[in-house]
Assembly symmetry: none
Homo-oligomer: 209 residues x 4
DNA sequence: GATGAATGAGATTTCATTCAT
DNA sequence: CATGAATGAAATCTCATTCAT
């Protein structure tokens, strides 16, 4: 029966979706498998036909997120050559990703401590990788700058902090549109890097809205 | 023996200290009263001579933090008149506070969801108050600026995001000194507000180190 | 295996049975779920597959008892027309019920205070209903009486008191047979209502044993 | 300081009074020493300057009650010679005692099971003693009776049941006066023993009210 | 005599997980 | 693939009791 399999896949996807939602709202520890099962419309025991443990479910939910982020960054940068344009592409991708996948990135940022050491190390490595790319982009963009590079690490940190923060408050039906948010934060970051004509360059790439 | 009373007070303080530490490391939900009691060196039941519930303990730990932050900001601003200087004073206070009391502010930012609605509302109100003050300082400093004010809310958010982030990674024995961090982040923020001569003004107020 | 479902239902029934027994012996507060679980032969946690709380278990145990009593009274009276015969039928039913279901009625009488207000009100209402029926039967039987009706409420109370008392001491293997007890108490009550020829009438209806 | 001692004695009495009240309302098991201490206005630890254990406190509260009851019965019967008059004196004393000291007798009847075996045996013996006296009085009064003595034990039981029941519902500010209750119940009992001219004899001794 | 603090035992309840059906 | 039931571990919290001050 094709339906059976489709149903099974749907159930598995449902579980991950509801888990993400509940982990984001109440936190991993405060979310019980009973709640997740109830949200999906099945009983606890049945969960285990689709997951192997709660921890694995968390890993699953957090799982692809960093890979996706890195992949999306690659894609956003592909074909972009000018260093400032690349920085703008980074910011656009960075903010958009943290907003559009707010729940997952929020979990990724707040539930690291719930992972067992090994899994945590995996994630931490990917985060370092992401930070490294940001630092590289910052360094490369610095050529068009009129002031000293203050501290690459802290520049990168402030970009990351903004993304993390966004995933905590952004709502699709909130008061600000995503392009508006992206554009503004990009200007803020470019200004902080003392990029010449920061605002105009952002408007040129991302539009004026 | 003075020890009797002093012992009681010391135990109570110990409990709050250890609770803050453990909440920061493992999270509120993942921290058991058993662990806290063990850290303090008493038995679980004895905790209840000093607290009335785990939730109240969390509230206690998170409790004064926002009041302290607001008070410290008041003090930092007192006597400072120039709007840009006031912004610098804000940033100095902001970063220093989030670094020096990293554990508490980290808990304050990550465990809001563990509070019952009423308590949460109390804290949320204080956070809004703090954000409001930041927005006011931003608006007032904008006079010395050569570029448009992008979006007060997002400017404030980026400052808050940086503070929150700092409380997550700062270690007194880490690679960067607190004055260095403060100075750099202040420059980053002033630059992002397009304050004229941002770096120099920060150096003038906070020193060159 | 049919046993699966049957096992579940049997366990649930077992729990209620053992709870009734233990509540009757030690009282609700003094009975731990551990003891109940042990009596049933399962572990404490497993209880919660069959009950939702200890309080609900008490309510469950006390639950049907008043309904059963009222239903049994209806049945005992059905087809009996003569007012004195109806009184005799009441007493027969009353004593028999309190003896045969001694544990449950004992709990029903002694653990009212352990119920939360709402549940208590439900039970209290049913008890008032039962008392009301007794009072009606007393009034109707009074026509065949040679003396004044002293006080309907106190007459009813004395009947109720006897039932409650019986549920406290009756044992199937005790020194007195149930018909003997029933017959005697019925005579006592009819005499106290000054029914003419009380003893003979009781013997005529319930037998001479 | 006389005041000091008086205060101490007062405290001890207060504790027993509040304990009796709380045991009667919530039951022994459901009453915590903390509640008792709070009702008295001291802290838990201080209780132990006046009691030696919670169990002993219960025994203390239940303690004298049976002795008092027996003593009061002796006194009520002293000088009364006629067997029916002695029965009336018994009933008057019995009901009055159970009403006036409702809380204590209620506890005495409902918390027997909370006593350790030895203490329970002591109390049980006194109750048997009391029942024995009632049975003797019944037998002696039977001479003035026109019908057979149905069953001495059950006659005694019904008297005891009425007393126990009274202690459960009597309130000084309730709808019925104590003399009214006493008189009515005495008539009920004398009628049930087929005492000739029961009502009149009761009225003659206890008054007509 | 009163108190604050400590303690060990135990209470109810929740949870992730397993497994036969 | 879903379920009901069982389980062991652990969690928060309460309690009677002790004792130094």
């Amino acid at each position: 029966m094709v339906g059976a399999t489709a149903g099974g896949l749907e159930t598995a996807a449902s579980i991950r979706r509801e888990a993400a939602r509940l982990f984001a709202v109440h936190g991993y520890e405060a979310t019980s498998l009973r709640e997740i099962a109830a949200s999906v419309g099945i009983k606890v025991g049945s969960l285990y036909n689709h997951i192997s443990s709660k921890e694995e479910l968390l890993l699953d939910v957090m799982g692809g997120i960093m890979d996706d982020l890195l992949a999306q960054l690659d894609q956003a940068l592909s074909g972009v050559i000018d260093p400032v344009d690349r920085l703008i592409a980074l910011m656009d991708c960075h903010i958009r990703f943290h907003a559009e996948r707010a729940q997952e990135t929020f979990i990724g940022n707040s539930e690291l401590r719930s992972l067992p050491p090994e899994a945590r190390a995996t994630i931490t490595a990917k985060r370092a990788e992401y930070r490294g790319r940001i630092e590289t982009l910052i360094r490369e963009a610095h050529q068009s700058t009129e002031s000293p590079l203050l501290n690459v690490r802290l520049h990168a940190f402030s970009i990351i902090a903004i993304g993390t923060h966004v995933s905590g408050w952004y709502r699709p039906d909130g008061g600000m549109s995503l392009p508006q948010i992206t554009s503004t934060y990009t200007k803020i970051v470019l200004r902080s890097l003392a990029v010449i004509g920061a605002d105009a360059r952002v408007d040129a790439v991302l539009g004026t809205d």
